[in-house]
Symmetry: C2
């Protein structure tokens, strides 16, 4: 089983705030994600800047595409994104065009699981050529008291059994990592719990060590 | 019955392309919408610029929010948006925070109807304080052969009967306007069919005339 990647989600309002985090975090982890908030606040410039500064990292543009799949995926990849997110409830035509536009530029799409979706639909995504999904706990839902538990793990496991590469996100903390033991997670996506700590680089190393413990 | 507004959707990759359209269109219509593509390509700057240039127009930021409702709605309204879009499949907590953040800044949220949703959920949106919905035909679905018909009108009518202010969008053409006769449409949202014509100002006047014919 491959070792899961560690990914920082940059949900900042400005590029300089995001760079304050990546300056110390990028060398310590694998994937730099330009969060939806940062994308919408700063546009393609953030993608360009992260691509330029961090040639060794995978760059994710969390566009959460719901329409105009070809145009948006193309724009993100043209600016340097490796992976781009598309919402599960986007039309199949949107997903297909996004997959095509990303692939043409050497990129990959990730389906973000939000709201209602079914495993029957997930089969369809595979047929469209989508290989990656992101299992997501809503920030606002977590703020309202939700947490990670066996039901989440079961769903994630079922998705990996379908041969999806599954990344997980939403209020992940260091002690949650071990709950995924035995599941081939693609990437652990951590936001404020990595960025808003006294020593983000040390925190990233702690996450990497925890991952190495459970995926030796 | 109030006369529906006319709204241009700016689905451009650059601010200058968008301005090429608004330079002639903004004085001829009511609402200037910064499309998701333009938001994601240029960030908050497009909102600021449109607010500055067109103080008489309603400015819409089509963010299609699915999470971080308070942060995103706040960001858009702080930069000058009057209306901001939130996806129907966002968590209720996300919608509620967006409504609160927008209202605090004198703005309003619009629920974008995409994928699966139910009228039972729509009742919940009203309880959350959402007054506006956008009935949307996906661009990619339309490209794949869909069109406007009686089933669409019935759904729109049902939403207006629930006292939602309903805007409609997705491949609207001049000859489709009359199909909505008798329904209190909030805003007709037109993109390329307004922008990519020989004389966009004349085209906007033609839409306004058509609206005036059926909502005298």
């Amino acid at each position: 089983m491959e070792k899961p990647l560690l990914q920082v989600a940059l949900d900042n309002f400005t590029l300089s705030e995001a760079l304050e985090s990546t300056r110390v975090l990028a060398p310590e982890l694998d994937v730099v994600e330009i969060g939806t908030l940062l994308c919408l606040a700063t546009g393609a410039e953030s993608i360009q800047v992260m691509r330029t500064l961090y040639p060794e990292n995978i760059i994710v543009a969390d566009l959460k595409i719901v329409d105009a799949g070809g145009e948006l995926a193309g724009m993100a990849c043209d600016n340097g994104a490796n992976w781009v997110t598309v919402m599960c409830n986007a039309a199949d035509a949107t997903k297909a065009k996004a997959v095509e536009a990303a692939a043409k530029r050497g990129g990959e799409m990730q389906v973000e699981l939000f709201g209602n979706w079914t495993f029957e639909q997930a089969v369809e995504w595979k047929n469209i050529g989508l290989k990656q999904v992101i299992y997501h706990q809503s920030r606002d839902a977590l703020n309202s008291g939700g947490s990670w538990g066996p039901a989440n793990m079961e769903t994630v496991k079922k998705l990996t059994d379908m041969d999806f590469e599954v990344s997980v996100t939403g209020g992940l903390t260091l002690d949650v990592i071990s709950l995924f033991e035995g599941i081939p997670i693609k990437s652990f996506i951590v936001g404020r719990n990595l960025r808003n700590v006294a020593d983000p680089a040390a925190e990233a190393r702690a996450y990497k060590a925890e991952i190495a413990t459970y995926w030796p």
